[in-house]
């Protein structure tokens, strides 16, 4: 509980950012706590490898916090962080040009985890199949669907992250959903 009687969980991101600029550790910790999951899912969706995705998330937070002084607040902190995360992930992909192919070839960490027996008992096979099929969509469609559904971002925010207009993000989302439904109906798996 803070001096003003609010729990840190009740403090808006913008206020945490202002405190973070002054080096208030609890504010930075709360920002990490709130947004590392979203950043991780986005990074994983792009780089397809858990270890690389974790590196990307770490680097994205470091870059974001170093640049907090220049953050103008035009976008939400989360959108800004996710944009940095996407850029970091693309950088990681460039450095490791074969990362995705390797992950797909050897059914790497992502899928190995998704098929973990313990997890299978918690996540239905249909859910796992939907996620696997989602990974087969083109980048912008895949990201539009996952950012809209998983993270609840608006199409404007999705567009900012994938480098498209709001309209293009909307079109990518609905094309992705339509294609995913077709794949699910066709009984195609991966």
């Amino acid at each position: 509980m803070r001096e003003d009687g609010r729990s840190v969980a009740d403090v808006p991101d913008a206020e945490l950012v202002a405190q973070g600029r002054s080096g208030v550790e609890s504010a930075l910790s709360e920002l990490v706590k709130r947004h590392h999951g979203s950043a991780y899912r986005l990074a994983l969706s792009l780089v397809q490898r858990e270890d690389v995705a974790q590196d990307v998330v770490q680097d994205a937070f470091l870059k974001a916090f170093r640049a907090l002084g220049g953050f103008r607040g035009d976008a939400s902190f989360r959108t800004w962080l996710l944009k940095i995360t996407a850029n970091e992930a693309r950088g990681a992909l460039r450095k490791r040009a074969r990362a995705r192919e390797t992950a797909l070839e050897d059914a790497g960490a992502v899928r190995a985890d998704a098929k973990d027996p313990a997890e299978e008992t918690m996540v239905s096979q249909e859910s796992a199949r939907a996620r696997r099929l989602l990974e087969t969509l083109p980048d912008k469609q895949r990201l539009s669907v996952s950012l809209r559904i998983d993270e609840g971002l608006s199409f404007r925010e999705v567009g900012e992250i994938i480098g498209s207009s709001e309209g293009a993000a909307r079109v990518n989302y609905f094309h992705g959903i339509r294609r995913l439904r077709e794949l699910m109906d066709e009984g195609i798996d991966e």
Partner: protein
């Protein structure tokens, strides 16, 4: 329900699936979904995707926080160290600018900074004061103790 209306409502289906809508909005959209096959299928797909959503590894949050602390040495310094530093800088600054009749003894630990970085008119709280960010935690703690006890730094 026209297609146009359906289109606008469909955009909210992911929020309904994730429980992100207010009760009234959720209720309104649920009534539409009950009558609209396309939205119903989309809701089912959104729920499947959410159920299979990846979660961040358990240790990632801690790993990021540790990296942030390493990257920002000021972060994590105890509040009392910063308070002591502010008091120390103020006390030394006042001591210098007030030019007391007697000689002011500046404690040695205040000079635990690299040569050439001691005086800084830009960074100090008072022009001419040593920058407290350059003082070690130990020096700050010692200074605080002496200030509290009326030692050299507290005799201003």
């Amino acid at each position: 329900m026209s297609d146009r209306t359906c289109g606008a409502l469909r955009e909210q289906v992911p929020d309904l699936a994730a429980g992100r809508l207010a009760a009234e909005e959720a209720s309104s959209l649920s009534r539409h979904v009950a009558l609209c096959e396309a939205c119903r299928e989309e809701l089912a797909l959104a729920r499947l995707l959410l159920d299979g959503r990846a979660e961040a590894p358990a240790g990632l949050e801690r790993r990021v926080l540790e990296a942030v602390r390493r990257d920002r040495p000021g972060v994590g310094r105890p509040w009392w160290a910063l308070s002591a530093a502010a008091v120390a800088a103020l006390a030394l600054g006042i001591g210098i600018v007030s030019e007391p009749a007697g000689e002011v003894e500046v404690p040695g630990y205040a000079y635990e900074v690299e040569e050439g970085t001691f005086w800084s008119s830009e960074d100090g709280l008072i022009a001419g004061a040593p920058t407290f960010e350059d003082l070690s935690d130990e020096a700050l703690a010692q200074l605080l103790a002496e200030l509290t006890a009326g030692g050299p730094g507290g005799a201003v």
